[in-house]
Symmetry: C2
Subunit: 214 residues, 2 copies
Amino acid sequence: MAEPEGSDQITGLRDLKRERNRVLTAETAWRLFIERGYDNVTVADICAAAEIAPRTFHRYFASKDDVVGEPVRYMTSLMAEHIAGAPAGMPDQAVLRSAMHKLGVFVVEHRDWLGALRTVIQNSVHLRESHQGVPPEREQEIIAMLAARRGESGEPGWRQRLLVAYAVTAFRIWHDEYLRGKVSDPLKQLDEMFATIEATESRPGLEGHSLGGK
Amino acid sequence: MAEPEGSDQITGLRDLKRERNRVLTAETAWRLFIERGYDNVTVADICAAAEIAPRTFHRYFASKDDVVGEPVRYMTSLMAEHIAGAPAGMPDQAVLRSAMHKLGVFVVEHRDWLGALRTVIQNSVHLRESHQGVPPEREQEIIAMLAARRGESGEPGWRQRLLVAYAVTAFRIWHDEYLRGKVSDPLKQLDEMFATIEATESRPGLEGHSLGGK
DNA sequence: GTGCCTCATGGCAGATTCTGCCACGAAGGC
DNA sequence: GCCTTCGTGGCAGAATCTGCCATGAGGCAC
């Protein structure tokens, strides 16, 4: 349930307090959202419960929905970490596959909590519109990390973009199906879904390489 | 540039005026956004230019970003229309392919205007976060129309969801690449991208049917 | 044509979100 | 121990969005 802050270094006491406060605030917000629904919780409510000033809240989070986006952010940094740590020779699809598998394990472990948060999002018109999986900026980040891993730089080709977009799309659908209780064997299902992506790879006319195309 | 209102029937004079006003307001808003940037235009500005009251603005559009989402809404209803009109026997991928092609033509025709709007979105942090292609509700709509066309009802299977999600994902990437001026032969490129989806179809282990699987 | 109903509009007040600015005080560096 | 750095809170204010009500134009029945 805790929200470790990706790869940020906690150096001093000041940073520690800040991080602890931020996590506490986020968890307080999630709890209230789950209890009363997103629209029935004001920033002032969250601040009262978390014992911080509204002004401080908006220093932690850019907006109220931003708190809801935190898990997705965390999961993409998890993914980014995994990509960065992948062996040099491994092809992109394999890296993505294992990264998604790792995310899958995380989701399965936090199933109840993520499911509750999903319900919150579904019950708010405003959130339903804006929280549809991985935002484009994060997608770009993943693409950049894949390229960096291969020592490439410059503009990614469309095949590269498409591969990553398919991966996060498949994950989004899986995530949704799973949290709706539609899936009995989640990790097997995730593999099956990812297989549809790998199928896009090994087809004549798609040159079968690692989707680096321009 | 005009924004025909999907399949809504304009019956009387009252509806006519309302629709005309709505379209005028949207176009005024887009113009201002393009001129000054989204964040430098207030609802009051738009209302002054379009000669309506702010209260009326919020009857036309749920929010300020909602105006920006209008083209996407229009394009998905175009897609929905196309799906509804497709011949009965045509398989889903073929329907999606031709629907996307039709959308592609639309985008090419309105290239300059859509490009300007894309720049607006890219230049606003707030918009960049929330306007990432087709929102899930619209996706559901497309899935439902495909199912209805085959006379099916009930919950769509994950393969169905995945197919549609891939299609709109591919379209999103294409749309972005094209409006960024990365594509010389747009419609050919769109076909190429769609080919990656059809590749997910005809693989052993995916049963090669029309992705209706549960 | 007259009278009545429907409903889009506009004005107003208020809740809420979010930001700029400043002062205070704790943490960190010397 | 002193000074700097910086996280926090309070305040004012801009901007978004909603509920409520009065007005007037369009629509409908007779």
